[in-house]
């Protein structure tokens, strides 16, 4: 072994290319084996973690739910049950209570915040026609300021009963809007966090856009969701 460090010299005749290829192939084989082995071993645990994480978020925004079922929105505006959680299609999570009755629907939404994209999940109660919970899944808002959208109890209280009543034509009667702290007079208004108006506004905009788009689809397909609940608890459980 030469002890002087030097750049690789391309045309050195000592080693045949067959040996180089063999070495690389051997290392590749070993690498592949190791990676696949780890992947196979950890996959079930990781999947379980992900499921739990998602479930925890769903049950947080739908406090009455005990089981959930995943639906995807098809391109023609229908809801179909799915078991493939990796699908790229927009997803809708229906939450059911112990009796298999639909108690709400959790929806994911994302949009631009102050620093980067904010992604959140919110719970919608189709019978009250209101948002009943909201949890920020990912955000990079300024710590201690914009990041209060995740933790500030007063701000989160806005989402316990946020009116999103929909007309039969599928339009939201009062789109969600942001007001200053202490200025909330209607159920469809969100009170901003003092000093973090931008992040509060971002959450408001994300929710408004998402509700305007998703809620009509959900209401149209409400029966599918209602019926699936009973079916799940009886058959597959």
């Amino acid at each position: 072994m030469s002890s002087t460090p030097q750049m690789p010299i391309p045309q050195e005749k000592e080693v045949t290319s067959t040996r180089m290829i063999l070495t690389m192939a051997a290392i590749g084989l070993l690498a592949g084996f190791l990676i696949v082995f780890t992947y196979r071993t950890t996959l079930p645990i990781i999947e379980k973690n992900r499921q739990e994480y998602l479930e925890r978020a769903i049950f947080e925004v739908l406090p009455d739910a005990t089981t959930k079922k995943v639906f995807i929105v098809t391109p023609d505006g229908k809801l179909e049950p799915t078991t493939d959680i990796h699908t790229k299609a927009p997803k809708v999570y229906a939450g059911y209570n112990a009796e298999g009755k639909l108690v709400g629907i959790a929806l994911e939404a994302r949009g631009q915040g102050f620093q980067d994209v904010i992604s959140l999940i919110y719970g919608y109660d189709p019978y009250k026609q209101a948002i009943i919970g909201m949890k920020v899944l990912e955000s990079k808002e300024t710590p201690g300021l914009g990041s209060k959208i995740e933790t500030d109890p007063e701000f989160l209280a806005n989402f316990k009963a946020l009116d999103v009543t929909i007309t039969p034509e599928g339009k939201i009667v009062h789109p969600i809007e942001l007001v200053k702290k202490g200025k909330k007079t209607h159920d469809w208004q969100i009170e901003a966090i003092t000093g973090a108006t931008i992040s509060s506004r971002a959450v408001t905009n994300i929710l408004r856009k998402s509700t305007e788009k998703a809620l009509p689809i959900i209401l149209k397909n409400l029966e599918v969701l209602e019926n699936s609940g009973t079916a799940t608890s009886k058959t597959t459980g």
Partner: protein, 193 residues
């Protein structure tokens, strides 16, 4: 999954969350190559080009890996692609501008271990960008990297004449400048919304 506009993606990577000053990608060349303005511009251009190429390939590879159900090969394939892309650029530069090739010297092969490039590929995957979004992202990242590098080089060139205290010379002062720049770039927050 994502509905971010192309302008937002571009501005985000270039200014708001500048690849170097806010996402901390490509710090090594940022501190290493940024001493001279003359080398920093071609370096930025080379990195931008490699970013663009690797972003395209990474997008394709990711689709292929998803199709065959082998996401665990992602990292290895990305790094191989990047290494090849760098080799390609190196040959290209050597052929068309031997002067530049000599100027960039050992920094060209080092682009392989520039985390900005691998970072770009990984971030665009985890953000779920589509093909066009990925292109916008890679260009924004490249512009952001070049911008940070060139600004830093300009400042450091003028500092050569100044009377910096002994203990602050070198990396320490570069880090302090980077910190101030990072604060200045915070002014772009919220842009493009």
């Amino acid at each position: 999954m994502t509905n971010e506009s192309l302008t937002f993606i571009f501005l985000n990577a270039a200014l708001i969350n500048n690849f170097v000053l806010s996402a901390f990608l490509g710090i090594c060349p940022f501190l290493g190559v940024s001493g001279k303005l003359k080398t920093s511009i071609p370096m930025g251009a080379a990195v931008t080009f490699v970013m663009f190429i690797s972003s395209l390939f990474a997008y394709g590879i990711n689709q292929a890996l998803i199709a065959i159900g082998a996401p665990y090969l992602r990292l290895i394939s990305y790094i191989v692609v990047i290494a090849s892309a760098v080799q390609l650029v190196e040959m290209f530069v050597k052929k068309f501008s031997p002067v530049l090739y000599r100027a960039l010297g050992i920094y060209l092969p080092l682009i392989t271990t520039n985390c900005a490039i691998l970072g770009l590929a990984l971030f665009q995957t985890s953000k779920g960008y589509n093909f066009v979004q990925s292109i916008s992202y890679s260009l924004g990242a490249g512009v952001g990297f070049t911008l940070a590098l060139v600004i830093m080089a300009g400042i450091r060139e003028t500092l050569e004449l100044s009377d910096i205290p002994g203990i602050a010379k070198g990396t320490a002062i570069a880090l302090m400048i980077a910190g101030i720049l990072s604060m200045a770039f915070m002014g772009f927050a919220g842009l493009g919304g």
